[in-house]
Every structure is written in structure tokens, then in C-alpha cells.
């Protein structure tokens, strides 16, 4: 630890970016071993997406929630938790320097020796005609409204996409009083049969959601997808298609509804790791994730990663990876400390089992190529720059052979969201798997903010 007590900039031992299960477990584990830890999160409360909860005390039924709250409270006493702080870049001089925006927009920098990237994931969206109509939400967005704000996304809701996440979303909305007209799973629903053991291990959880859907008389149909949304100024109806195994449309029907919650798996947020030059690898579905070793260490000295940025696997795996990273960071900071508290074989074995389960789920719910046939020439692919499929096809005809040249010619991914929403679709339309994101600035930062000298976090800012 360098710097003197007072207002001199401090170099803390670890900065953790992300306050979900991985970040909180990692921060707490490191803090308990005597490290000075700062955790940064853009949200108003700890929890990330899975443990999102309202400000007014309501105990959600989320599995593992009580345990998470205990960890979060303990963390508040043992580390500095900075909420509503948006990290927009990480650079390196002698230390790692984390650049963020405080609430109100002021620039703050935090210097550290170690960085734990626990930035989670967001929904993967696929485009289809009408998907930008108000009333069409991502599945995670509908879930966030319910969990964080106590707002039921609509009255007559269709849930669609692929993956096991559709079950809790449908069950949660139905349980909160919405009329859920159907949960439409584009996949075949047989995938997990090839992985009977991990499937059994989680059968209880899935069966619980299936029961909840049945209790509310919500139909769950496989090989079905929403292939178009209709409405003038807002969503009024969707077209649900029966699909073949590659997701080509076989037959359609229309369902009147005011809300659609749709999601096709998750995109890990790895921007900060890519900024620092961390190696990436292709996850089961071809998406880039940060490559880590057995101690959750990335290829860059002083940088660890845990949870979805190292591969989509759910909150249990995220929490365990966070703990392992916290132990590894503590061991790295004090290599002569007693062996107690080191990463144990038991933890490694448990992580292996959870990773196998995560891989099995991803293999069971792949995105099949037929979705491209749902689009028309005038269907927006990039919502920000309003780039329709026709312009992307034109770029391909002009000789663009990869997503990067499509982007340069037709501008998809060049707007506010920087390709977070359309990146997967644009890459696949260009005929390649999605590449690592190149975003030198992860959050929008005003020029005025950049012109001001940032406030460096100092001793007096720390607990």
C-alpha cells in the first residue's frame, strides 16, 4: 500500500469492477484476507442482474439471495463500495488506473495493484421485423423491471427466445399477475438429455419454474419463436412461428399482446479485459470470453476475471469463481502467508462441475442460423444508427467480407450502444463468429468531463 493517510492518491490492493455474485464474493474474500479493496458498480444497489432487488425492503424468492445479502453487508464493513460509478476505461502506468464517472458525472480515478473484472453479461438480442417497437423488451429487461422496480412489464405478455432463463422470466411475470400468453423456446428442448447428470443436479430448480408456469396455465412450446412484432406506435401483436431444427419458419400465427420479453442467451461483458490486452477465447457458442488460468488470472499481470466474462455459467459458478479469484489475489499479494485460505482442490473440483453444467446448457440451447430468414430488407439490424438489413446486404455485395468492413461501410454498431445490441447479428450476417469488442471508452464520457482533472481516490475516501 502506497501513499500517506490524507488526500494523497492511494494505490489500493484490488479494484473489483461489478457488484454481482462474482464481484461481491471476490471483493469480500480478498478484504477478509487483509487487502484494501474498492468495489465499483454502475447500479444503485449491489446484486448485479441475478440478485437485483428493490430499494424498499422486499425479500425476493431468488435462490441464494439471503446468502448474497449477508456477503454484501459484510463487504460494506470491510471494503469501500462505490455504487452508481460507471467505469469507462482501465489504463496502466506503474499501477492499474481505473477511470470512472461518479454520480453527477464527475471523473474519479482509482489506482490499484490488482483488478478483478466481474462485469457480468447482458441479453443477446436477435433482430426481427418490429423488434424496435416500444413494448418489446429483452427478457433480462423485463426481469430487471420486476426484480429491481417491482414493475410488471405489461398485462398480456409473450416470452420468447432460447435458453433456460425464459422459464424464471415467464414464471415471475405470471406470478406477479401478468397474463403470460406463452413461453416460446426456439430450441428443441431435448438438448440436456445428452447431459443427464448435470441436468439432474438442477432438475429441482427447472421443475419449480415449470410447475409455476403450469399453475398459471402458461403454455411452454419448443421449436417456436416470435419472428415479427406488429403495432403502430407500440406493440400490439406478435407473429409466432413453428420452426424446423435450424429455425426456418414452417408455419405462423398471430397473438395479440402488449409486451414481448425476448432473449437468446447472454453476451459476456469483456470490454475492460480487451482494453488491457487480455487474451480471449471462443466460448461454446463462439462468443469471445476472457481466457483465465486455474486461479482466474488473465494473461495480463495483475488482472483477474470471474463470472460470465470468463464464460456464461450462472450465478453459482460466478460466485465460486469470484471466491477463487479473491483467494488467488490475496495469495499473490502475500505469497508468504500461511497456506490456509489458498485455492483448494475441493474448490477447483466444484468449479469444474459447475463449468461442465454451464457448457452443457450452452450446448443445449444454441442459436441456429434460420433466424436470418426472419428479417426483411427493411428490418433494422442496428437500432442506434437505424441500419436495415438491406444496407448490410449492400455492404456485403460491395465486397465487405467481415463484420469490421460491414461496419465501416454501413455503420451498424457505430451508435450509442457501440454494437452491444447488434454485434452478434452483424457478425453472423457477415459470416463470422462475433469478435472481441474494441471499445476504448466503455461508457459515454463528455468532453467537459475529460477536460476536468479527475479526482483521484485518496486515503480519506477509504474505510
Amino acid at each position: 500500500m502506497s501513499g500517506q493517510p490524507g488526500s494523497d492518491p492511494v494505490t489500493c490492493d484490488v479494484v473489483v469492477v461489478g457488484g454481482g455474485p462474482a464481484g461481491v464474493a471476490g471483493a469480500l474474500t480478498a478484504a477478509r484476507r487483509g487487502l484494501r479493496v474498492v468495489l465499483l458498480d454502475s447500479g444503485a444497489r449491489l446484486g448485479g442482474q441475478y440478485f437485483r432487488h428493490p430499494a424498499v425492503a422486499v425479500r425476493p424468492g431468488t435462490a441464494g439471495f439471503d446468502r448474497f445479502v449477508r456477503q454484501a453487508r459484510a463487504l460494506d464493513r470491510q471494503a469501500r463500495v462505490l455504487l452508481r460509478h460507471q467505469v469507462w476505461a482501465v489504463s496502466r502506468d506503474d499501477d492499474l488506473v481505473v477511470h470512472c464517472l461518479a454520480p453527477g458525472g464527475g471523473a474519479v480515478t482509482v489506482r490499484c495493484r490488482g483488478l478483478l473484472i466481474a462485469t457480468g453479461a447482458h441479453d443477446r438480442a436477435l433482430p426481427f421485423p418490429g423488434w424496435d417497437l416500444p413494448g418489446v423488451l429483452t427478457a433480462g429487461g423485463a426481469q430487471a423491471l420486476l426484480k429491481g422496480d417491482g414493475v410488471v412489464a405489461g398485462r398480456r405478455i409473450v416470452v420468447a427466445g432460447t435458453g433456460p432463463f425464459l422459464l424464471p422470466v415467464g414464471a415471475g411475470l405470471a406470478g406477479a399477475g401478468a397474463r403470460v400468453l406463452g413461453v416460446f423456446e426456439a430450441g428443441g428442448g431435448l438438448g440436456l438429455a445428452r447431459h443427464p447428470l448435470p441436468a439432474l443436479a438442477r432438475a429441482g430448480e427447472a421443475a419449480g419454474y415449470a410447475l409455476a408456469l403450469a399453475r398459471h396455465r402458461v403454455p411452454y412450446r419448443t421449436r417456436r419463436a416470435v419472428v415479427a412484432a406488429h403495432g403502430e406506435r407500440e406493440l400490439e401483436a406478435v407473429t409466432v412461428a413453428r420452426l424446423d431444427r435450424d429455425w426456418n419458419v414452417l408455419a405462423t400465427r398471430r397473438i395479440a399482446c402488449d409486451t414481448l420479453a425476448v432473449g437468446y442467451g447472454f453476451v459476456p461483458q469483456i470490454d475492460l479485459g480487451v482494453q488491457l490486452g487480455c487474451d480471449t477465447r471462443a466460448d461454446v457458442d463462439g462468443s469471445p470470453v476472457l481466457a483465465v488460468d486455474g486461479a482466474q488470472r488473465t494473461s495480463v499481470e495483475g488482472v483477474w476475471a470471474a463470472g460470465e466474462p470468463t464464460g456464461v455459467g450462472g450465478w453459482r459458478l460466478a460466485e465460486l469463481e469470484g471466491r477463487i479469484a479473491g483467494l488467488a489475489i490475496a495469495a499473490h499479494a502475500a505469497p508468504d502467508a500461511p497456506a490456509a485460505g489458498r485455492v483448494t482442490e475441493a474448490l477447483i473440483r466444484r468449479r469444474g462441475r459447475l463449468r461442465a453444467f454451464g457448457r452443457a446448457l450452452q450446448e443445449a440451447y444454441p442459436v441456429r442460423p434460420g433466424w436470418r430468414g426472419w428479417l426483411r430488407d427493411d428490418t433494422l439490424v442496428c437500432r442506434c444508427e437505424e441500419v436495415p438489413l438491406g444496407r448490410i446486404r449492400e455492404a456485403l455485395r460491395l465486397g465487405a467480407t467481415d463484420a469490421r468492413s460491414v461496419k465501416l461501410l454501413a455503420r451498424p454498431g457505430m451508435g450509442w450502444c457501440q454494437g452491444r445490441v447488434c454485434g452478434y447479428a452483424v457478425a453472423r450476417l457477415a459470416g463470422e463468429p462475433p469478435g472481441p469488442p474494441r471499445r476504448p471508452v466503455v461508457q459515454p464520457v463528455s468532453l467537459g468531463t475529460l477536460a476536468e482533472p479527475p479526482h483521484p481516490l485518496s486515503w480519506k475516501d477509504l474505510p
Binding site: 454502475s42 447500479g43 444503485a44 442482474q49 428493490p54 430499494a55 424498499v56 447482458h122 441479453d123 438480442a125 424496435d132 417497437l133 416500444p134 413494448g135 418489446v136 423488451l137 429483452t138 433480462g140 429487461g141 423485463a142 430487471a144 423491471l145 429491481g148 422496480d149 417491482g150 414493475v151 412489464a153 406506435r233 407500440e234 437500432r383 442506434c384 437505424e386 451508435g415 450509442w416 450502444c417 452491444r420 445490441v421 463528455s446
Partner: protein
């Protein structure tokens, strides 16, 4: 701060429960779009709900556009739509 208060959207009152985001309060009140796109003039409101997509940009108390889904509503906030 009371657990229930109001904000206004273009002068119209919208109820809020403490801790709700501006995006959530608007959506719950049936205000599902509060912005139109630059080129096509298409209506936009919440989409990702977690700060990724920037569809829900909104101006609060005259400040530059911010993501409504990340912004906690405060008593008396004045939201203007474009």
C-alpha cells in the same frame, strides 16, 4: 424520503415508488416511449432495461440525455420527452 412520490413527464404527474428508476416509473405509468430516433422518427422507450442499449435516453431537469433505466427517480424530477 417518503416511499411514494411524484415526478412529472412533460408536465404530467407520474407516481413513483422510492428506488424505482425513471424508466421503470414511466413504463409502469403506461408511458412506453419518450424519444424518437434521428432518422426514422421511430418511438423508443425501454428495451434492455440494464443500461446497455441506450434506447431509453431521457432528459431530466434540463440535463443532457441519460439512460432512464439507470437513473433513480427523485421527488420533483421533471422529465421532458422529445
Amino acid at each position: 424520503m417518503s416511499d411514494a412520490f411524484q415526478i412529472t413527464v412533460d408536465g404530467r404527474p407520474v407516481p413513483v415508488t422510492r428506488g424505482q428508476t425513471i424508466g421503470a416509473a414511466l413504463h409502469a405509468a403506461g408511458v412506453r416511449s419518450w424519444r424518437t430516433t434521428r432518422l426514422g422518427g421511430r418511438p423508443r422507450g425501454l428495451f434492455c432495461g440494464i443500461g446497455i442499449c441506450f434506447d431509453c435516453l431521457v432528459s431530466v431537469n434540463g440535463r443532457p440525455p441519460e439512460r432512464a433505466c439507470l437513473l433513480d427517480a427523485r421527488p420533483g424530477d421533471e422529465v421532458t420527452t422529445s
